[in-house]
Amino acid sequence: MELGRLLLAIGVMALVTYLPRVIPITVFRKKINNVYFKSFLNYMPYGVLAAMVFPEVLYSTASLYSAVFGTLVALFLSYKKQGLLVVAIGGTAAVWICEQLLTMAGVM
């Protein structure tokens, strides 16, 4: 990967991360009371995150089977309101175990 391109990409990332943080705290002193605007900002992260996860998560490991299993475990754990760390480790462990079994069975 070209060095200049990578550095520029990191610079772009830093800029678009800092701007939404710095503008309101330095410029605006009044609350935005528009219900639609506030609702939109509230819902949007969920839409973005959900679109990032599905269906990409199914292709995030060495095998579709292990990815599906890991996703199901992560869904179950988060439905049980486990923390981020527990869900991340649980999903990872599920994939690892599943792939060990698949290798042993000769499927992978």
Partner: protein, 243 residues
């Protein structure tokens, strides 16, 4: 009217940031590992953590860099992910000690993360620069330190574990979106809509040419707009408590 609190010192901030730092170490560790696994040089995730200091945006960023996405895609995707900071920054601006200078505000702005915001906003008194500096500094140390460990450790990990870790980030996102979806029907609807749109763009032949960055933007925007117009939120509790 909120009053200043002399107990909110720098060292109190450092201490309040410790639990955040511990949580950050593990997530940043995963970030460092994933970045290297995606073929980025080991110094780059460290530089990203030092200059960005955000979770979701950084993960999305290395995804896009590794996929050779355009700068416009990177900028738009991260901007959309980071739009929530607008609200946090706005909310925090009204909790700061009056008369705080521009320089301090700009420094604090860099440290507005979901977790720091959550801890800071729980305090009942006005927030001074020293307390926030402590809170941000200990959290930031955990974030950067965890990334360094992850970036260096990735070469030591076996391939089977690296494959399994590929799902870690997605599992974390699942853990962020599922609990709110349980308690809020609008949030559940937004998530379902976004997933359907995202899958549509992935599997329908005519639409599948669009790159993942734009799919995320379109799915996120459309699902949030549907949620907004079907279920505009009523005045929230925090605001009522202020009155």
């Amino acid at each position: 009217m909120l009053s200043s609190n002399r107990y909110l010192t720098f060292s109190r901030g450092l201490r309040d940031g410790l639990p955040i730092a511990l949580g950050y170490i593990s997530v940043a560790f995963a970030f460092g590992i994933l970045a290297v696994e995606k073929g980025l040089p080991a110094w780059s995730p460290i530089l990203i953590s030092v200059t960005n200091f955000t979770g979701t945006g950084q993960f999305a960023g290395i995804d896009l860099i590794a996929a050779m996405a355009s700068f416009a895609e990177i900028a738009f995707t991260l901007l959309i992910i980071n739009l929530r900071y607008l609200l946090m920054s706005l909310s925090l601006s009204q909790r700061l000690e009056p008369g705080m200078g521009l320089g301090k505000r700009m420094a604090i702005a860099f440290g507005i993360t979901d977790e720091i915001f959550a801890v800071a906003i729980q305090k009942e008194s006005l927030l001074g620069g020293k307390y926030l500096a402590g809170l941000i500094l200990s959290s930031y140390s955990g974030w950067v330190g965890g990334t360094v460990l992850g970036a260096l450790a990735s070469s030591l990990l076996p391939a089977s574990l690296l494959s399994a870790l590929g799902i870690a980030l997605y599992a974390m996102f699942i853990a962020i979106i599922i609990p709110p979806a349980r308690s809020s029907r609008p949030v559940a609807l937004v998530i379902l809509t976004a997933v359907c749109l995202s899958c549509l763009f992935r599997y329908v032949p005519f639409l599948s040419g669009l790159s993942s960055g734009w799919v995320i933007i379109i799915s996120g925007l459309v699902s949030a707009l549907i949620g907004t117009f079907l279920f505009p939120m009523q005045e929230d509790k925090e605001e009522e408590a202020d009155k």
